[in-house]
């Protein structure tokens, strides 16, 4: 028998047996192993790489490496004028482009003295809430597929297609809309849009319940997510979490209520919080539950918008758009409640130029993902997949 290797940890010995050499393990190696997850791993939802230090099946630490989709949107924003930033903003969180546009436009409008027509405000909220449902459907569908449930994914994408169809009808694009503009929207809603949206709401209500029964109450799904990736409320706030992530930890915080931008103060909706019956507050299941509940709240907001929207013949949604957008000198931080949390823009204007001096996007996914290292400590590798899925990242927004 001969010793293989020179390191003192080497534990393999080779036994010559005829032509084949058989490796015999003397004692099990107990060193940490570095395991790369991604950048092409399906459960990282895009190009994210996690460098996991593992001890057997247990993750000691997972360090995220990002930037694979970095396009330096902020540099582009300094080169083009204010309205031309909107298409770039679309491409950040490409699953919720309407919400991104809304966040950017209300930020710039803070620096401008313009009054937004009431109908435009309702159109904006209507399309944003439709987009929120579409985005949550992807989040829930892909989360199910991460955990091995294929059918809910198909159900979610089938229903999302109806929303994409509606938004395409209004804006002309399937995903990257460039529809909400500074001071207005690109086009008025097409003839018959409101009736079709009502039909969708009637169609989708029972489907949401069906999804609830299929996935949320599924025993395997609950066992995979309950108690996994616990995040206490105070730590979540310290990490800057927002949106469904923060509400999953039981913090009553929704910018639509807190900031009350656009026409949200007039609408009746509740902030969705986990009740702790099915899930432990702060775990992955809570975050999933918040998203599922929010879809139903969004349906109710959509219905209210349809009822309350003022009708005007020959309405020009571009009437309030300034000919030349040159905000007064100053700095502003504006934000909106996106499906993934607080999307904020810090904009600096020098008062002379038609392009921003500085435009920083505070990405909700970027901030939510920054807690990954802490969340992953001591978890099993399969639970790591459940945790990343529950954070619901879109790498286009993480990397910008």
């Amino acid at each position: 028998m001969q010793e293989l290797g020179t390191s003192e940890h080497s534990s393999l010995r080779v036994t010559p047996q005829g032509k084949d050499r058989v490796l015999i393990e003397k004692d099990l190696s107990s060193e940490e192993m570095v395991l790369n997850m991604g950048p092409q791993h399906p459960s990282t939802h895009g190009v994210l790489r996690l460098e996991c230090k593992t001890d057997g099946e247990v993750v000691i630490e997972a360090e995220p490496y990002l930037g694979y989709l970095h396009r330096c949107f902020e540099k582009y924003a300094e080169k083009v004028d204010y309205p031309a930033v909107v298409p770039f903003v679309d491409r950040m969180d490409y699953l919720a482009s309407m919400n991104n546009d809304l966040a950017y436009c209300i930020t710039v409008e803070k620096l401008l003295d313009i009054e937004i027509p009431r109908r435009v405000e309702f159109i904006r909220v209507l399309v944003s809430e439709l987009n929120r449902i579409a985005s949550h459907l992807v989040a829930i569908g892909t989360y199910a597929i991460d955990l091995g449930a294929f059918t809910p994914f198909l159900f979610c994408f089938r229903d999302r297609e109806h929303i994409l169809g509606l938004l395409e009808w209004a804006s002309g694009a399937r995903m990257l809309y460039n529809y909400i503009l500074i001071g207005g929207v690109a086009e008025d809603l097409p003839e018959g849009f409101m009736e079709r949206t009502r039909e969708f709401v009637t169609y989708f209500r029972p489907k949401a319940v069906e999804l609830q029964k299929l996935l949320t109450e599924n025993e395997i799904f609950v066992k995979r997510t309950k108690g996994v990736g616990m995040m206490p409320a105070d730590v979540a706030i310290n990490y800057g979490w927002s949106g469904p992530m923060l509400r999953g930890s039981g913090v009553d915080w929704d910018l639509r209520k807190i900031d009350g931008y656009s026409v949200y103060p007039e609408l009746d909706f509740k902030v969705c919080l986990p009740d702790g019956k099915l899930s432990d507050i702060g775990d992955s299941l809570s975050r999933h539950l918040v998203r599922a509940m929010e879809m139903e709240e969004s349906l109710s907001i959509i219905e209210q918008c349809l009822d309350m929207m003022p009708r005007e013949d020959g309405f020009n949604p571009r009437a309030a758009i300034p000919k030349r957008i040159r905000p007064k000198a100053g700095e502003v931080y504006g934000r909106a409640e996106n499906p993934r949390g607080e999307l904020g823009f810090y904009i600096q204007s020098d008062g002379k130029s038609t392009s921003p001096l500085r435009c920083k996007a505070r990405s909700s996914c970027f901030v939510n993902l920054s807690a990954m290292k802490e969340l992953s400590m001591g978890q099993l590798i399969p639970d790591l997949v459940a945790i990343i899925g529950s954070i619901d990242i879109v790498l286009g927004e993480v990397d910008r």
């Binding site: 003295d113 990490y239 913090v251 100053g330 970027f366």
Partner: protein
């Protein structure tokens, strides 16, 4: 509209709250902080003695009258006219007082360093890494100051106003 109301001579509740919060900081730190710029969009003050920035940050977070427990955003900024780089932090008292304030800290353009507040608000860790990546200011006491969005071996700091893109990267021509 809320935006237009902000220009009326009457102060909005948000600015009053920011003034009250600034008053508390000013009493505790005196000359280390500047006057409050009570503009209607984003009331802010500047930390003049940046060595005390971490103490001020901890005070902002923990003083019972302030409780700025949530850092919404930390943006790096370039001030080429003043030959300085800086950060702007948007703070908020989430679920406690509800008030908001912005804080600015500046440092020299070449070789400047700002004390890191990553231990005060953990969210600052990645925001500071991003500011370092894009502007090149150092954050003293940061647990893990590396580039975050650009590759490790990228040259220059892209968001500086005088940035010129490198010609090639690993033998590949970089489009301008």
């Amino acid at each position: 509209m809320e935006e237009t109301q902000a220009h009326t001579p009457e102060e909005s509740a948000e600015i009053r709250a920011a003034k009250a919060a600034w008053q508390v900081v000013k009493e505790a730190f005196g000359e280390a902080v500047s006057e409050l710029d009570a503009n209607p969009f984003m009331p802010f003050f500047e930390v003049l003695d940046r060595d005390r920035w971490r103490d001020i940050a901890l005070f902002l977070r923990d003083d019972p009258a302030l409780l700025f427990n949530y850092m919404a955003c930390l943006s790096g900024v370039d001030y080429p006219d003043e030959e300085k780089l800086g950060i702007v932090c948007n703070l908020e008292s989430l679920g406690k007082h509800g008030h908001r304030i912005a804080v600015k800290v500046k440092c020299e353009r070449e070789g400047g360093a700002i004390p890191s507040v990553a231990k005060v608000w953990k969210t600052a860790e990645w925001h500071e890494r991003e500011a370092f990546d894009m502007y090149g200011m150092s954050f003293s006491g940061h647990p893990d100051l590396r580039r975050i969005l650009c590759p490790e071996d990228w040259e220059g700091y892209p968001l500086r106003k005088d940035y010129e893109v490198q010609e090639t990267y690993h033998g590949i021509k970089v489009p301008n």
